[in-house]
């Protein structure tokens, strides 16, 4: 799978705001077995100085999904999604995501390469509040497997 290197540096328009709900954070925390009250009980979160329940560290993937889809489904880039596997993932946090956040995602393609018949695509998604406060930067590298 060969990907067009001229896509490096391409930016995508910010996604529609994602409203982070308290129940969504609880549901996500429960699904990964994270029982700390800070994820479930607003009073426990407030005791640590947060306005509402705190999302676990990997929760931002729920928020960035629409932004990832925007790129992977860009017809000009031509990724065959059925051949995609996840390569790398990284989060750099300004602060944790909390319930009540209204978040937008702005994505940039940081790297495109082809090695050994496989395509590699690295994107950076900056997640910030609608007021412009940066919350977390998310890097994701996907591998588009070549035909065997």
């Amino acid at each position: 799978m060969s990907l067009d290197p001229s896509f490096v540096g391409r930016t995508y328009p910010p996604t529609a705001p994602y409203q982070v709900g308290r129940e969504k954070i609880r549901e996500f925390a429960t699904a990964i077995g994270a029982t700390d009250p800070v994820h479930h009980d607003p009073a426990a979160a407030r005791a640590l100085g947060h306005p509402d329940v705190v999302a676990p560290p990997t929760f931002p993937v729920v928020v960035t999904m629409a932004a990832s889809r925007q790129i992977v489904e860009d017809p000009a880039l031509g990724v065959d999604y059925s051949r995609v596997v996840h390569g790398d993932q990284r989060f750099a946090y300004n602060r944790p995501v909390v319930a009540g956040d209204e978040l937008v995602c702005a994505s940039t393609i940081e790297d495109v390469s082809t090695r050994g018949g496989h395509g590699f695509l690295t994107t950076r998604t900056d997640v910030s509040t609608v007021a412009g406060e940066p919350v977390v930067a998310v890097w994701s590298k996907i591998v588009v497997r070549g035909e065997a």
Partner: protein, 130 residues
Amino acid sequence: MELPAKTFQVTRADLVRYAGASGDFNPIHWSDRFATKVGLPGVIAHGMFTMALVGRAVTEWAGAPDAVVDYGVRFTRPVVVPDDDQGTEIEVTAVVREVTEDGLTRLDVTATCLGEKVLSQARATIRTAR
């Protein structure tokens, strides 16, 4: 310094629950028929589910669920989850690589399933407990 190992059991039910909570409904995480058709040995865990479990280990070691300032992994090997009551297990260990003067602790994390590494370059930076 080595941190105490943590073990997470992963069953098919966990994958279904994670699919619903995360919105990742890729059938390789719930359909053996689909998974084997695309050349996998069977249903595999979401990479992000493994990363979430390792993230739990990191926040438990940190002693605070809001202490992580940087967290990254590379997915190297799929976690195959058999359709039985036991599922499989992911074991997570870590060593403290560095404690900085500005109060950050850098961890090198290892996650294995059936003795094989499933992540590489797994690193987390946590704020030292207040």
